[in-house]
Symmetry: C2
Subunit: 391 residues, 2 copies
């Protein structure tokens, strides 16, 4: 079978705020081939990503992503890897390509899994679908009190690990950061694993970042996430030498496998966090997971949006015994909540598993998308090169 159509559905909340909440909109991808349908989701700017798919060609290695996808065979895992290779080559100079490829790759794996009647993790070569301990991923509250309440609420929902991030952390006075970390620990209690996400607050400034380390150690924070901008490898490595028991995590911004390898090899992170909606999809995610396993680094998904994104991001390390925790979006938008019929729930044993159903195992709620659909049209020299369709 060959890729017959690639459709994009750009959905969003009625109001999109300046919060660092990536679940306020979504770019959902539907691919058809033969009699099968696959779904994916780009963790990316929707309009820009659509443009990257349909744009006119600029030259041989700045082609639209569509040129390497439409009409291509998709009968095997190798076929999907070949599409991946072609997009990387033919769209080398199109920066946004990796982000739109991510959703396309997911949809292709979903489709192939459905065609074969097996879960994606099985197509990836895993023989087991190992449960992971989920950590609730939430933003810091506007005040330490709100952070404490949020931590308490997550414990009440049964989470044994919670991550707090953003909300101005690292951007103001050290005292304010310390108060937030203390509130987080106080809220989740003593017997809960705790992580902190700095959202690249310190650029590449190791001295600024190290000032928060004592408070993190005092409050037994297991890792400090994204202290620096994505490529600041030397700063990552230096902070890692200073951070003692506090691990250093990063990787969500990786838009290819090399960026992730470099963060492990040269940045010396102890936790590598990959968003399948940005790194190029499930295929590249799986390559990074293999590299991490071979180098003693814990692979973790980065997921802050939907259950479709969660399933896709769990696949690359579903069968890896050394990676035992997963990010679980716990406070997303109504869009993120409603857009799938199925939900990946925390099981009674407190653990989370990738679906054991064919493909990604997450059905899409077409009405939920339709209700929030953003209509897009792009016209070039009088010709409509893109017009959004209804799901």
């Amino acid at each position: 079978m060959r890729v017959q159509s690639v459709e994009f559905f750009y959905a969003r909340e009625p109001v999109v705020t300046l919060d660092a909440d990536g679940s306020q909109d979504a770019l959902i991808v539907r691919i058809t081939a033969g009699s099968f349908v696959g779904w994916g989701e780009c963790e990316a700017s929707p309009l820009t990503s659509i443009a990257a798919f349909v744009t006119p060609r600029s030259h041989g290695v700045c082609q639209p992503v569509s040129a390497s996808v439409l009409g291509m065979p998709v009968d095997s895992a190798e076929d999907i890897r070949e599409i991946q290779r072609l997009v990387r080559r033919n769209s080398m100079d199109l920066l946004q390509a990796a982000h739109v490829l991510s959703g396309v790759d997911m949809a292709l794996w979903d489709l192939l899994g459905k065609a074969r009647g097996v879960p994606v993790w099985s197509l990836l070569g895993y023989t087991e679908n190992l449960p992971k301990t989920p950590y609730a991923s939430v933003l810091f509250g506007a005040s330490p009190e709100e952070t404490r309440e949020r931590g308490r609420a997550m414990r009440e929902r049964g989470f044994r690990a919670v991550k707090f991030g953003w909300g101005g952390f690292g951007e103001g006075a050290l005292d304010a950061d310390v108060a937030q970390v203390q509130a987080a620990r106080s809220g989740v209690g003593e017997d809960c694993e705790l992580f902190v996400d700095a959202g690249q607050a310190w650029g590449s400034d190791v001295e600024a970042a190290r000032r928060v380390l004592p408070a993190l150690a005092d409050n037994r924070v297991s890792w400090l996430e994204e202290p620096f901008e994505a490529g600041a490898l030397a700063a990552y490595a230096k902070l890692g030498e200073l951070s003692g028991a506090v691990g250093i995590a990063g990787g969500e911004a990786a838009h290819d496998v090399q960026m992730a390898y470099n963060l492990m090899r040269f940045g010396k992170v102890t936790f590598i966090q990959i968003d399948a909606g940005r790194v190029g999809g499930i295929g590249p995610g799986t390559e990074v997971a293999a590299y991490a396993a071979a180098h003693g680094v814990a692979y973790i998904n980065h997921t802050f949006t939907s259950q479709l994104a969660l399933s896709a991001s769990l696949q690359p390390f579903a069968g890896l015994p050394g990676s035992t925790i997963c990010e679980f979006p716990a406070l997303g938008s109504s869009l993120a909540h409603d857009m799938t019929v199925d939900r990946i729930e925390v099981d009674t044993d407190g653990l989370v598993r990738a679906p054991d159903r064919p493909g990604l195992g997450v059905d899409i709620d077409l009405d939920a998308i339709s209700d929030r659909l953003v209509d897009v049209e792009m016209v070039v020299n009088g010709e409509t090169i893109y017009r959004s369709t209804s799901p």
Copy 2:
């Protein structure tokens, strides 16, 4: 004065082929502030870059680039650096942002230089505008004979250094690559510096790349450029250990300063090649040039398109005595040739200088752009969020 308007002009040749010739289209940026106008050029997919500028917001760090540019003060170099910082922060998750920012940053420097009546290199802190030895940058011919002729033609135009690249180099049999390198040397003669650009042909495969090294050494090729994909730092470093007198060059794909720093620090390249139309503009280019100078790496512009792009890419190292050569686009499209009124010619001493005029010192030929203008309209939920204007 504040940024009043940012306009984009997407121009292209009547036919855009699959050649690796990036001059077949152009995305030109015009910024107005106060009574001044500045021009820049993105080395990027035009439609995708426009979308990145105007797209609706996705969340706090996935904002359109426009949000950090329009209305901002632009009275000093520090103001431009602040816009740079804001775009990087507010559009952190918008991958294409760096490419559109590049043209915007150029236009801001051009505008500020015109307002002050000084060249951009002076605004950057350089006290001298040092001449550079230009190398003609051309593609390999379709056959060794064509390559030889092209080399001969460049010598007849007076170039003392020539670079050949792409045209399938590294993608077929080793014999074919060797024949191309021999033809290149034969064409340019014995007393000409010669470079070879592999266009990422070998992915991250060091063994594949090393097979061509003897032919490069035999033909006294001074550097092998982009043997690997942009982020393959470990492969770059490894090949550098094996390449003897053949230097390793790379960096054109860097879309932020960290990528360039990493290629020097961890990839151990001996030549760092920065395209101001991709790295984020002239400001980031200058930061990379300073890092290169401090670490004994030769900084070179990457430019394959217009004279506007050439001027912009010369500014970051105009005053650096250690960087003595520059890339000079020698066989571009008619668009690249016609779009500027001014041309940066090779002087009678065989050297090239950044213009000594205010700003970038390159006036735009509005008719040449108008003749090739691509009309673009983007509509979101019935509202036209972008419609191209005439220059």
